[in-house]
């Protein structure tokens, strides 16, 4: 059994992405006891899956490493990975929470040597790389993964592969008898930081995502550009591995659309502007980017970034929401629409199309435990909004479409609110 120390002065943080990690760290560094629950086998969430940040074009590994160091140095945070909250009851200052832990089949003796991976034959889709490639069924989710421990995929349990992995492990870290377990713990306040999922691009039927291989999403493009990604950082298009030197970006793919996501996802304009840098860096003057947009929303200080991209002669801007995509015989996706500056019709082939898909809150459609739904309501897009006196606080992209910077601000605010609740509990008990 997993043992967790938690009281009604503990703050539970649900979700271990950039917002959840921030909220947990901020609260713990003021001296509060924190339990951080993460569904994936690793922390960092979608931030860890980015290649670079805007606007400074630095690598998320850097920012995440600082947070991980703070986390490792802080004894007041207990991290539960492969864990999901399955039930909450009680009220502000006195919650009882059920957490279901899935087996990793690897215990904390793991040294991440990789011998088990070599011993295993079967492969599974590489979730960290948005299923663009395959990984062995005994895998380290990514190079920076925290905890730095391998995972055995449940699909090989009971097969010869699992036994081979166990035999290969020199430190006895593989435990094939691990079972799913549910633990219950107390908490005084809860920070709900379950983040977002990229909008399901196949729902935008005229863009034929999933059908045309050379139509991909912006999150997938991050993985293509990343040296740790499936192409080792080479921007190759999926259909034939050709270098994608002529890339189209379609803005508002799903966002600002009553048929899909009614909100503006805010980050996608900056993400595409950032991604034109990847094309420029990979191919120099041969790398051409075209951004199809309704209007560019580079908010406040990001305007400078936009102006710099605009001045790049290798980046073109077409003011138009693309109507549909067809595919040429050579696999080139062809974009059809009308340029609303001058109302000229176009039909343009590109090597690769990147759909700048928006953010759908992960809480949408999620079974939010009853005690929570009383205090929390969703807005018309499914983002969490507070409703009255509660000890549950949304943070990061669970509450709004935010970039990393704003998600961190939101998490800090949520941590402060959670601290206020447990402080009241502490005073009541004195």
């Amino acid at each position: 059994m997993t043992s967790i120390v938690a009281t009604n002065q503990t703050i539970l943080v649900v979700g271990g992405g950039i917002a959840g990690m921030t909220a947990a760290l901020e609260a713990a560094e003021t001296g509060k006891q924190v339990v951080l629950v993460e569904k994936n086998p690793w922390l960092g969430g979608r931030t860890a899956q980015l290649y670079r940040y805007f606007p400074k074009m630095c690598h998320p590994t850097c920012g995440l490493e600082i947070n991980l160091r703070r986390l490792k140095a802080n004894p007041r945070i207990q991290v539960l990975t492969m864990a999901e909250v399955t039930g909450i009851s009680g009220e502000a200052g006195n919650y009882s929470v059920n957490v279901t832990l899935s087996p990793r089949y690897v215990n904390n003796k793991c040294t991440a040597c990789g011998e088990c991976s070599k011993a295993v034959n079967s492969e599974i889709a590489d979730a960290f790389n948005y299923n663009l490639g395959k990984v062995k069924a005994a895998y380290l989710p990514h190079d920076m993964a925290y905890p730095q421990r391998y995972v055995l995929d449940p699909s090989i349990i009971g097969t010869a592969d699992a036994e081979a992995a166990k035999a290969a492990c020199k430190v006895g870290a593989i435990d094939l008898d691990q079972q799913t377990e549910t633990v219950s713990l107390n908490a005084g306040a809860i920070v709900w930081a379950t983040g977002f999922q990229p909008y399901a691009a196949e729902k935008i039927t005229p863009y034929r995502y999933g059908e045309f291989k050379n139509v991909i999403t912006n999150v997938e493009f991050e993985r293509l550009a990343d040296p740790h990604g499936p192409t080792k950082g080479k921007i190759l298009r999926p259909s034939d591995g050709k270098e994608a030197k002529n890339v189209a970006f379609i803005q508002c793919a799903g966002s600002r659309d009553e048929n899909h996501l009614r909100h503006c996802s805010r980050f996608c304009c900056m993400a595409s502007l950032k991604q034109t840098h990847y094309v420029q860096e990979a191919f120099g003057d041969e790398g051409k980017s075209t951004i199809y947009y309704i209007d560019i929303r580079a908010i406040d200080r990001f305007e400078d970034f936009y102006q710099k991209v605009k001045a790049n002669p290798n980046v073109a801007f077409v003011k138009s929401k693309v109507a549909r995509i067809s595919e040429d015989k050579n696999g080139d996706p062809r974009l059809w629409g009308v340029n609303t500056e001058g109302y000229k019709r176009y039909s343009e082939p590109h090597d690769l199309v990147v759909l700048a898909v928006g953010m759908e809150p992960a809480v949408k459609g999620m079974a939010i435990p009853a005690a929570l739904s009383e205090g929390i309501v969703a807005d018309s897009s499914g983002f969490l909004a507070m409703n009255g006196n509660t000890g549950v606080f949304g943070a990061g992209c669970a509450t709004n479409a935010l970039d990393v910077n704003r998600a961190v601000q939101s998490a800090t605010a949520a941590a402060l609110r959670a601290i206020q609740v447990v402080n009241q509990v502490a005073r009541a008990e004195n």
Binding site: P206, C252, I294, K319, S320, V322, A323, G337
Partner: protein, 215 residues
């Protein structure tokens, strides 16, 4: 049904958008357009010449107050009612219906292009069907074919067109869809008096609704 063009132009001086909101069916939606261009790009009439302005351009022209250009344009009449733009519009504008609404308003004002084929056929079809409640295919064809480009009666042109369409006509006769004897009076729906009073009532209701909106 008709409205005085000059009177309307004066009443809504410099506010064509308001005029369409009041007077044209679905006109209140025009202001919701965000000019993304997806309607124009989705139009199946795509690279065909002959229609002046795609929907989002029409909507922008409405806002810009280019009244005469919009109302006399053939654009609204080129719509094939395929509803591609309607289902793709990110703001859920009923674009097909808006186009029809503006077209109908231009028609009521009497400024729509006179012999625009869609409008011309629409008029002939309506007058034909509203007479007895049933379409007289023979008379419809006669009215449509025996007119020249200026709208004048044209015997030789009509015969020529009729001969061109001969095989289609024979097919229709064989299938029982066209009776040549209807040249001397067609079939009717049962309650002729009831039909006419129903149409009259519908017209009255429409007038009242439009008068209320305009007030």
């Amino acid at each position: 049904m008709s409205v005085n063009n000059t009177e309307m132009a004066v009443r809504y001086k410099n506010n064509f958008l308001k005029e369409l909101e009041d007077q044209a069916e679905m006109g209140e939606w025009i202001k919701m357009c965000m000019q993304c261009g997806v309607c124009a790009g989705s139009c199946p009439t795509n690279f065909h010449p002959g229609w002046d302005h795609p929907p989002q351009e029409i909507f922008m022209m409405v806002r810009a107050g280019r009244r005469e250009e919009v109302l006399t344009s053939n654009s609204m009449w080129m719509c094939t009612s395929c509803y591609n733009c309607y289902v793709r519009c990110p703001r859920k504008l009923p674009i097909t219906h808006i186009m029809h609404g503006i077209a109908n308003y231009a028609h009521r004002l009497g400024v729509a292009p006179k012999l625009q084929p869609t409008r011309n056929f629409g008029k002939i079809f309506w007058n034909n069907a509203a007479k007895t409640g049933r379409v007289n295919e023979v008379m419809l064809t006669v009215d449509l074919y025996f007119r020249n480009a200026e709208g004048k009666f044209d015997l030789m042109g009509g015969i020529k067109k009729a001969l061109e369409m001969q095989s289609v006509a024979i097919g229709l006769v064989k299938a029982g869809r066209l009776n040549p004897l209807e040249l001397f009076g067609g079939h009717k729906c049962k309650d002729q008096k009831g039909l006419q009073s129903m149409l009259k009532k519908a017209r009255e209701l429409e007038e009242t609704r439009k008068a209320l909106k305009a007030a």
